[in-house]
Amino acid sequence: MNPLPLYVAIPLGAAFLIPLLGVWWKKSGETLAPLSMLILAVMSMLQVSRPAAVYYMGGWVPPVGIALVSDGLSTLLLIAINVIGFLCILFSLKYMQTYTGLTKYYALFMLMVAGMNGVVVSGDLFNLYVFLEVASIASYALVAFGVGAEELEAGFKYLILGSVASVMLLFGIGTVYAVTGSLNMADVAREIAMRFGGEMNPALLLAGAFFLMGFGLKAALVPFHAWLPDAHPSAPAPISAMLSGVVIKSLGIYAICRVFFNVYGIGTGAGEAVIFANGMIAFALLSIIVGGLLAIGQWDYKRLLAYSSIGQVGYVMLGIGVGARVLATGGQLSIAGLAILGGLFHMFNHVAFKSLLFLSSGAIQYATGTRDMKQLGGLREKMPVTAFTTNMAALSIAGVPPFSGFWSKLVILVATIKAGHTAIAIVAIVFAFVTLVYYIKVQREILFGSVSKLVEKAKEVPALMYVPLILLAIACVGFGLLYPMVGVYILEPARDALMNGAEYIQLVLG
């Protein structure tokens, strides 16, 4: 049986049942949510064995019907979303006990997962938009879940900017439909390739600009990043981990990749598509610089992590943008492949270490009651597991060998230099050191140093909270050392899906 519809149906069903059963059964969320996330996580891992699959909804064959499609890239994202979702739900079981309205929390969480899975498996532009809205609305509500003054303001800001992005996306989708007469991504790609021979007509260029802006806002690329440093710290810790770990990637980076590589056919098309690749590189560089510089000055641990997310997403986008530029200018395929692989690898690593860091910030807040770095210190002695795992993630994200973050940044830099962008590579190297600087600050202020007053009373968090931390820490080391396995089974199929835009058309339309 084709599992693709289940990725949407299971979390959507759980999101419906949890508040319904919650009227009589207080524990409905705590039971149903972990159960369905466990099923999804296992399903997504099994997907690795055969990533390419198509499901025609209601048996209608595209371009008339709506298709759910998964290929290497979708599989990579499905694994990230569902595994991290499961770990965050485990963490929530204890962490969220101080909040009220838990059935609503779990229902919104499952709705967000349903939306993200939908975005990733959708083969239709308008469906992608609808699922993106489902995930976004759930995440707006989750950011404001604490309903304090700060949470509400952050949620409202996120909501307003997110709505602008949605409006832009719908405008772009409408324009693409007006030009090509189809919404199915494979069919649109074929139309663009055949009718225009890959030539971009002005309407398609306009739509592309709207897509880059809309998805760029969801991915929090600078200059569309203003909501992220408020929204991510204000959410409850497991939600911050989801937002920084997977939401910005599945709604932003994945959608950019899918639209520009598979629909616009950046590799197969004419040279005009290079303008989008240049845009990606420019936004990526800005993100690396702004995110890095602003992170240094932060004393709120979660805010520092949020700015760091902006910078790291910049690295992901840099790899993908350089790959796109090489493809669009007709450069060597091997260099393009290397750059894209680096970008995807860094994205995969960032999912692991940034989720871990945000969960650890939750654990620290749970144990000490603060996330102000000035009031923390000497955590190593009082909370050894949290401190050790946080340290692993910090070393990994800062790019210290042999952790995974080092290898992915190295691949991106090598590919950037090979593609002839030495100046860009130098900026990226300098800001890799800036990353190191602010994670050394995290180490000094939180993990090492003298034991502060608040940490004195702290105890290690319960097992339900530190088990996800340990699993993610193993992933941080494992992705680096076991690269041959991760690379061959997960990353290379994803790279191939992006490199060969025509194969996507083949897969869907037969």
């Binding site: 308008f126 609808v130 809205e133 609305i137 707006y140 509500a141 404001a144 309903v147 003054a149 700060e150 509400l152 303001e153 952050a154 949620g155 409202f156 800001k157 909501l159 307003i160 709505s163 602008v164 949605s166 409006v167 719908l170 405008f171 989708i173 409408g174 439909y177 007006a178 919404l183 203003a226 909501w227 440093p229 408020d230 204000s234």
Partner: protein, 115 residues
């Protein structure tokens, strides 16, 4: 061509309202105007003068088939309106909560986060 231009004007008006107004309710209205501009745009994309509803009946003259309007943009607009309603209700609910916290709708008073 003029209708498309007016559509863009409406979109920019919404964007202006969103950026320039300090009152958060007016910001919400700005979003709503932008939403409507896009819905209007989608309707214009599918518009055909003298069009008829695309319902196929037996023994239908070929000339009628020619006059069928494209139903897909209309279906998209319906979906988009429903999504817009969902977002709008969430926005209004947040406005009410913000008013309860601060006693004002003025964003410059509410705003404490540095962004």
């Amino acid at each position: 061509m003029t209708v498309y231009f007016l559509c863009i004007v409406l979109l920019t008006m919404g964007l202006y309202c969103l950026v320039a107004k300090k009152n958060i309710v007016k910001k919400v209205l700005g979003i709503v105007i932008m939403d409507y501009a896009v819905n209007l745009y989608l309707i214009i994309v599918g518009y055909k003068s003298g069009g008829v509803a695309p319902i196929i009946e037996p023994d239908m003259p070929a000339a009628t088939l020619e006059r069928f309007v494209d139903p897909l943009p209309q279906a998209m607009v319906l979906t988009s309106i429903v999504i817009g309603l969902g977002v709008l209700s969430l926005m209004v609910a947040m406005c009410i909560r913000l008013y309860e916290k601060h006693g004002t709708f003025d964003m410059s008073v509410i705003s404490k986060l540095r962004g």
